[in-house]
Structure formats: C-alpha cells, structure tokens
C-alpha cells in the first residue's frame, strides 16, 4: 500500500521532493519506511526516543524512533551522517528528564551494554556540596589579600584621624572572616550528616542547606573585590553612598559579640599608632 501511494504521488511530484512521516501505531513504521526507500524516498521523519504522536488521531501511539530508523538505514548501507551512540544517549537523557522509558528498542539495546547509571541523587547532592566547598577554599585563598588591605586601610584612616571609617573597614573585615568561618562549619556539618544518616530522610534539609550556601557564596563573591576596599576610604559622594550601604549590611548581619570584638581591635590599633 505504501508503495502504491508513493508511486501515485510521484507521478505528480518528483520523488526527491517527497518525505514520509510514519507513525508506529501498528508497529509497521520501519517496514513502511523501508518500502518508501525502495520507491526512491530519501527524507524520513522520525522523533528521538519516539517522543510525540498524534493528539488528534485516537489510538495513534507515537512517532517512530529516530534511533531505530538510523540503525536500519545504516544497516542497509545508507550514510545517515548521524552519530547513533550520541543520539541514543540524547534519547536516554530526554526520556529520563520526562520520566518515561525510551520508545526506541535500538536505544534500549545499545545502552544496556553501556555502564549502568551508578550515580544517585545523593551523589549529586554530595557533588553540589563539594563544589561549594571548593569555591569556599578558593575564596579563603583570595580573602587574605582583601583582609590585609582592610587592615592597612584601617591603620591609615586612624592616622588621618578618621575613626568612623577605620571602624567601617574593620567591621567589614570581621564580617568577611565570620562569613567564611560560618559557611565552612555549615558545610562540615552537612558533610558529616550526609555520611551518617539516611539521605532520603535528610534530602529537604540538605537541599535547603545547599541553597543557603549558594546565597552566601554569591555574597562572598561580591565581597572579594579589592577595589571595593579602597572605596571605604574615599570622600566622593559615590563612595560615601557605598559606605552607607556597607554599614547597613553590617548592621543587619553582625552579632553584638562581633561588634564588641571589632571595637577592641580598633582600640588596639589606636594604641599601636
């Protein structure tokens, strides 16, 4: 029937301008495609992992899977130019994303030999946490430069007699030290928990913890610019606005103990100068 139809159409339209789009409702798609090839058809519609179908035709299950078509075409000697393995992996990925098995038997066959996925959701969460730790380590290495500069700045400001700004520099420094310390501790506890307790019980908490961590890292990223340290000492209107902004953040985020510790540091510096 396929041949008859194509031959009929080919009488009016050159066959190289024709394409076939076969559904696989009765499992005959590949046979029909093969018959079309014999009639000269060289363009075939298909869908990765057999996704999609016809919402209008009741009972029509789905499109024919590209992996199956490519496998057949390659087997017949056609050069499709498609990397079947990459295609199968893509089909596997989208099927996993959609939460449904692939509609392609070729893909299932090829990938059964592929390493079974040995990565769990817990592994991914652990990876996220480790990535945060890595970023934190990197910040820790860079922060010394910023902290030293803030210390120097505080001393210079004191020599100028600008106690207010010296205090600001020290407070900012304390804040950064605290942020890194707290985040490090949080990550350590997360790591311990993940090692000892059933992950499924913890999942929500872990995800929450990681979200927190991410927010802190974004904040830390903003804090790492050494140019901003310089702005703490400037007198321009722009810099003053920045200093106000920093003051606000510090006010909201530092504990009374931290504030007291900073005051003591300032006194110490004053006595040294």
């Amino acid at each position: 029937e396929m041949r008859a139809m194509i031959n009929a159409v080919a009488r009016k339209v050159p066959v190289e301008r024709l394409a076939v789009h076969c559904h696989d409702t009765y499992g005959q798609a590949l046979a029909n495609i093969y018959a079309s090839l014999e009639c000269g058809i060289r363009t075939v519609d298909s869908s990765v992992a057999g996704l999609g179908g016809c919402p209008y035709a009741k009972g029509a299950t789905g499109n024919v899977a590209t992996e199956d078509v490519v496998y057949m075409l390659e087997g017949c000697g056609f050069d499709t130019g498609v990397d079947l393995r990459a295609l199968a992996l893509t089909g596997e990925w989208i099927s996993a994303e959609l939460g449904r098995p692939s509609g392609s038997r070729v893909a299932r066959a090829l990938l059964a030999k592929h390493t079974k996925n040995r990565i769990t959701a817990q592994d991914r969460a652990i990876l996220d946490m480790k990535v945060q730790r890595d970023k934190l380590r990197q910040y820790q290495k860079r922060v010394h430069v910023v902290l030293d500069r803030e210390d120097q700045l505080a001393r210079e400001l004191l020599r100028r007699g600008d106690r207010k700004r010296a205090l600001l520099a020290l407070r900012r420094r304390k804040y950064q030290e605290q942020m890194i310390l707290t985040t490090d501790q949080q990550l350590s506890s997360l790591e311990q928990l993940m090692g000892t307790i059933e992950f499924s019980l913890l999942q929500k908490d872990v995800l929450f913890g990681l979200e927190q961590g991410n927010r802190v890292l974004a904040q830390l990223n903003k804090e790492m610019r050494i140019e901003d340290v310089e702005r703490l000492a400037e007198e321009t209107a722009d810099a003053i606005a920045y200093q106000e902004e920093v003051s606000e953040i510090l006010r909201a985020n530092m504990t009374t103990e931290d504030e007291e510790a900073v005051e003591r540091e300032l006194e110490l510096l004053e006595r040294q100068e």
């Binding site: 390493t115 040995r118 990565i119 592994d123 991914r124 480790k130 990535v131 890595d134």
Partner: protein
C-alpha cells in the same frame, strides 16, 4: 614529579630550529614527512616542558617555538595545521572548538589521556577514594593531590582523561545542579 620544567630549566630547542627551511613546508613529500615528524616531536616536547596543552593556531605562529625571530622565520598557519592533524592521527592532540568549525584551537596531549586516566585511577585506589564523589577541582587543585603529577593539569585535558576512564567503564562523570562544575566517581 609534580614540578614541571617550566619554572627553572629553559626549553632546549633542537638544532634544526635554527635552520630556515625547517619553517617552510617542503614540497618533496618524503622530506615533508620527516620535517613534520620533527615538528610533531618538538610540539609535544615543548608542551610537556611548559605543561601547556591549549594551542590556538593563529596566535601560536607568532611565538616560539613556531616562530624564530633570530632567523626571521615563522611557520605558516596552514603548515601548523598539517602538523596538528598528524598529531591528532597519532592520538597526541585533538581539535577543540565547535564541530565542523575551522581548525583553530587544539589540545596537545603531551601525555596521552589514557595514561593520565591510569594515574588518576591508581591515586583513587591508593587513597581509598573509589566509589566516592570527587570534584574536578579537587583532582586538579586539591591539597590531597599536591604531590601528584596531574596536580595543576588543565581542565580540558583532565576531563578528556576522565572520559577515557569512563569509556573503559571505570568511572562516571556527572554534574550536580550546575553544568559547569563536574564531578566524577571512580570505580574499583
């Protein structure tokens, strides 16, 4: 040894590097094959010495070793491409950049990814870190790998090496919530 030669020792260029015709693609095929072989060896040795992997063809021809200002000669871009093509066929390099694009950038494997793969696997086995989640960052830059030869390896080569391990079925690369930060599980 973790220390690359780059810091102290200067790279020894072979004598032929001072020979002007070395920089001109020879018309005789047999001569060219020999010339190309010498260039291939030179590229790999140079990259090994400096522990460099990434090469951008258009820029590289303006610098040593592909240009020798003393004799005022430099390799042409298309000749360098031929050299890299040969390295690719030997498994000592790979063109990077989007598929089908002009051959502009490549990675030189002064040590084959499979060799790195074996070292990584050995390290993981020795430290009892098999079947644990490891980030690429900690493999390349972590304190635990400071004494390893692969410490400081560039990401692209590290990734290829782990992919080689993966296709041997001895590891699996994966991403967490961000695609840029990859992790790997190395199996026993």
């Amino acid at each position: 040894m973790a220390t690359g030669g780059g810091a102290g020792a200067r790279f020894q260029l072979p004598e032929i590097h001072s020979f002007p015709p070395f920089f001109t693609r020879q018309p005789n095929e047999d001569t060219w094959k020999e010339q190309r072989r010498l260039w291939c060896d030179l590229v790999v040795a140079f990259c090994r010495h400096h522990r460099r992997s990434a090469l951008a063809v258009a820029e590289a021809v303006n610098e040593p070793p592909f240009s020798n200002p003393r004799i005022r000669r430099a390799l042409r871009v298309d000749t360098l491409r031929e050299v890299v093509d040969e390295l690719v066929s030997q498994g000592h390099a790979a063109w990077t950049g989007p598929k089908g694009s002009a051959r502009d950038t490549c990675l030189v494997f002064w040590r084959k990814p499979e060799v790195w793969a074996a070292m990584l696997h050995q390290w993981a086995a020795d430290r009892g870190l098999c079947n644990t989640v490891l980030t690429l960052y900690e493999l390349a830059n972590g304190d635990d790998t400071a004494d390893q030869e692969f410490h400081g390896l560039d990401y692209a080569t590290l990734r290829r090496s782990l992919e080689a391990l993966q296709s041997q079925g001895r590891a699996q690369l994966f991403a967490g919530s961000s695609d840029e930060d990859l992790g790997v599980k190395i199996f026993t």
